[in-house]
């Protein structure tokens, strides 16, 4: 049992030893590498449309190779990445590469910028490559030479001269003289101020004799161009890459010829298309349609019953820029319920241009009995055949609705006859209104109302203004008081002395002397010493007389003194 355990341990130990030695040697080799990056090309002088290979190699393990931008070149295939490690007689070597297959865009001498690799923040660069591109250069090997002209590509346009807004259909056609696989567009024409749309279509291929040779013709792409500025369309290039099956000249074990697929590129320039401007001035109601059009309005009937419906179609047909125009809307006719229209179209994009129709189909249901008008319509487009604007006028059409729609609808809701309900046969307007007609009396509502508002406001303002009241004069008051006193004395009034006293006090107070100040010097300052004495004497006698009876003679004296004094007060 113990022997059986020791044998596997020894084997594992051997393997670990071998792997360790290998890793150490590899590490040592890696440390010994010079850390360079190198760029090379399969050819430095190439023909136009001749693919060539560019390879970037390095022995640095770290990082990855960053390819440059291949200005003036198109990448046909790639990038391909690879790496390998070799150990020969204990010497290990490492190699990492990045390769591309390129084709030049045009003739000339171009420089391919260096590739880079980043090692711990340090950027290392490869050498640059100078490539000379010439047409008619003999290819690098016989197979490549055989692949040359194995297929060609053409661009077909529907028109050579169009107006702004008029569509051009562009067809990409490949003619294959040899079997070709993996065809793809590596450069498509790009236009400025042109609306370009790739069209859906079914690819077709057929066998034809071209230049005396049997060839497969393949229409592989179709595009719609709508120019929106005048000028010349052309010069842009289409490049197609494909792998051509080329015989190697050798045979296999069974005597069958061996073939190889070789990359090749073919290009074509778009034929010049002149874009003409639309004449000015444009009509105000120009719809934007350019081409050759016809506008049709179809009615399935012009007379119908109230319970029927009517189908109305408005269709634009012909050739032109169907993609950018719309069918004119129907102005809803009176007397009909108009439902949302159904849209129909059938547009074909051929080498002759864009043809077909667009259509709106309306359903109209009558509301009333009578004659109704489908309103007239106008539609203006530019006729590219005549080179002028044209206005299509669809004139008014009259529809006759024969039975009364309302009556027809009401019939279904009428009550059964046996219920004997009162049914209105037909309604009518009510008769004239009688009464005396009188001219309108203009009360000038606004003006008079304004006047009332102002007067009310004024009355309110008056409430807040303090107006000094005009009372009886001082003399009149004095006279009234005097009369009052004399009347009391003449009548023998018991309160005659109090009345006299009050009258004297009131008269003094009217002079601005307060009741409390009558006994003070203020009275003397106003009336003088002599009169003050007389006043005080009179007042004292009046006060005494109120409580103690006095003789008739004293009463008469008091009255006489009052009369004399009153005039001086």
């Amino acid at each position: 049992m113990q022997k059986e355990r020791k044998v596997p341990v020894k084997k594992i130990g051997k393997h670990i030893l071998i792997i360790g030695v290998l890793l150490l040697s590899l590490f040592a080799q890696g440390q010994d590498s010079n850390g360079s990056i190198n760029a090379s090309a399969s050819r430095t002088t190439v023909g136009l449309n001749e693919p060539f290979r560019v390879v970037f190699t390095t022995d640095i393990r770290e990082g990855s190779i960053q390819a440059p931008n291949f200005d003036n070149f198109i990448v046909v295939r790639g990038p391909y990445r690879g790496q390998q490690t070799q150990i020969i007689n204990g010497n290990a070597s490492f190699r990492k590469e990045l390769s591309f297959e390129l084709v030049a865009e045009k003739e000339g001498t171009f420089t391919i910028a260096p590739a880079t690799i980043n090692i711990r923040g340090q950027l290392r660069r490869s050498n640059t490559l100078e490539i000379t591109v010439k047409s008619g250069v003999k290819r690098e090997n016989s197979l490549s030479e055989k692949a040359k002209n194995a297929f060609q590509v053409d661009i077909l346009t529907s028109k050579k001269e169009v107006y702004v807004g008029e569509p051009v259909v562009m067809l990409y056609r490949a003619t294959l003289f040899e079997p070709v696989r993996d065809m793809n567009i590596i450069q498509a024409p790009n236009f400025e101020n042109v609306l370009q749309q790739q069209l859906d279509f079914k690819q077709e291929q057929r066998i034809e004799i071209v230049d005396g040779k049997r060839a497969t013709v393949l229409d592989f792409d179709k595009r719609l161009l709508i120019p929106n500025k005048p000028g010349i369309l052309g010069g842009q290039e289409l490049k197609i890459a494909g792998q051509v099956q080329v015989p190697t000249g050798r045979v296999d074990f069974w005597g069958m010829p061996l073939t190889k697929f070789v990359q090749d590129v073919s290009s074509a320039e778009i034929p010049a298309v002149k874009i003409k401007p639309l004449p000015s001035p444009k009509p105000e109601d120009f719809s934007g349609a350019v081409g050759s059009f016809k506008v049709v309005r179809e009615l399935d009937k012009t007379a119908l019953n109230g319970d029927e419906s009517l189908t109305l179609k408005i269709r634009i047909e012909g050739s032109g820029n169907f993609n950018t125009i719309s069918v004119p809307d129907l102005i809803p006719p009176q007397g009909f319920d108009v439902y949302d229209p159904k849209f129909n179209e059938n547009i074909r994009y051929t080498e002759r241009g864009v043809r077909g129709y667009k259509e709106l189909e309306y359903l109209l249901v009558p509301q009333f009995k009578g004659e109704f008008i489908i309103p007239e319509m106008q539609w203006t487009f530019f006729n590219s055949e005549t080179g002028d604007y044209e206005t299509v006028l669809l004139e008014e059409e009259t529809i006759h609705v024969n039975s009364n729609v309302l009556s027809a609808r009401d019939t279904s809701t009428l009550a059964p006859v046996d219920k004997r309900e009162v049914t209105t046969i037909d309604d009518d307007i009510r008769y004239l209104q009688t009464g005396d007609f009188k001219p309108f009396v203009d009360l000038r509502l606004r003006r008079i109302s304004l006047l009332f508002v102002l007067l009310t406001a004024l009355a309110w303002v008056l409430q807040f203004i303090n107006v000094k009241r005009k009372g009886p004069s001082s003399e009149a008051l004095a006279s009234a008081l005097e009369k009052k006193v004399l009347k009391a004395f003449a009548g023998g009034d018991e309160a005659r002395f109090a009345i006299m006293l009050n009258a004297v006090e009131q008269r003094i107070m009217e002079r601005g002397i307060a009741r409390e100040a009558i006994s003070s010097d203020a009275l003397e300052m106003y009336y003088g010493e002599e009169r003050t004495k007389a006043i005080r004497s009179l007042m004292e006698r009046c006060q005494l007389a109120q409580y103690a009876p006095i003789s008739i003679g004293s009463t008469q004296q008091l009255e006489t003194d009052f009369k004399a004094l009153w005039k001086t007060l």
Binding site: E284, D285, I331, P332, P333, Q334, G335, Q367, F368, G370, F372, I373, P375, L406, D427, D428, I429, R430, Y431, L432, Q433, T434, G435, D436, F437, K438, P439, F440, V441, D442, L443, R444, L445, R446, I448, S449, F452, V453, L455, T456, A459, W460, L462, Q463, V467
Partner: protein, 232 residues
Amino acid sequence: MEDALVHLGDSAKTLYDAGNYRQALEAYAHLEAAQVKQSSLFHNMGNCYVRLGELGEARVYFERALVFDPNNVDAQHNLDWLKMRLTDHLIEPRQELIDWLSIAFRGILPTQAWGILAWTVLLVTIVLLLVRRFGRGMNWRYPFTTSLLGLLLLLTAWISIPKSFIAVNTAANSYGYSEPYAKGKRVVLLGEGSAGRLISENDNWLYIELGDGRVAWFNAEEWERVLHYPKE
């Protein structure tokens, strides 16, 4: 003057009864020119237009009759009758709150009655204020209350002034354009009697909003306003 108007009204009725609707209409038009602004006159003119088959004009006059007297049930009936026979089933033009209030107030009292009532209350207010100022003292609350009541009545009178921004198509067909000129894009076609709310006008064009919210410019010659401007 009033006798002449009464006589003219009788003549118009006689002509109408005899089936001479055009002459009857002319007689009523003379009354209208003589500043008669009674709902019954406009109702009768609407009747004449109905008999003449001019439904657009008829609608204008029935609407006008209802502006001056919203309680005119005959005019309302005739307008409803007319609408049933108009070809465009348009939603009725939009009515503002102020329009609704105006009709409601006129339904209670004529505008002038509201005005006279307001003036009376304001006159009482003025008397009360004068008495308060120059006579014996009076609590200010009495004239204040009558002032408020008077102003409220004046406001009601002002709101109830007959006004209408409705316009009616009187032509057989009228195209609505997106811009106020005949070469503009046609956006709608309306039949006779279609009505809309007048928003603005530009030379000979009316900018009209239909009940469903659509707006368009119409030739003013083809449309007639129910009232040309707010009148007392």
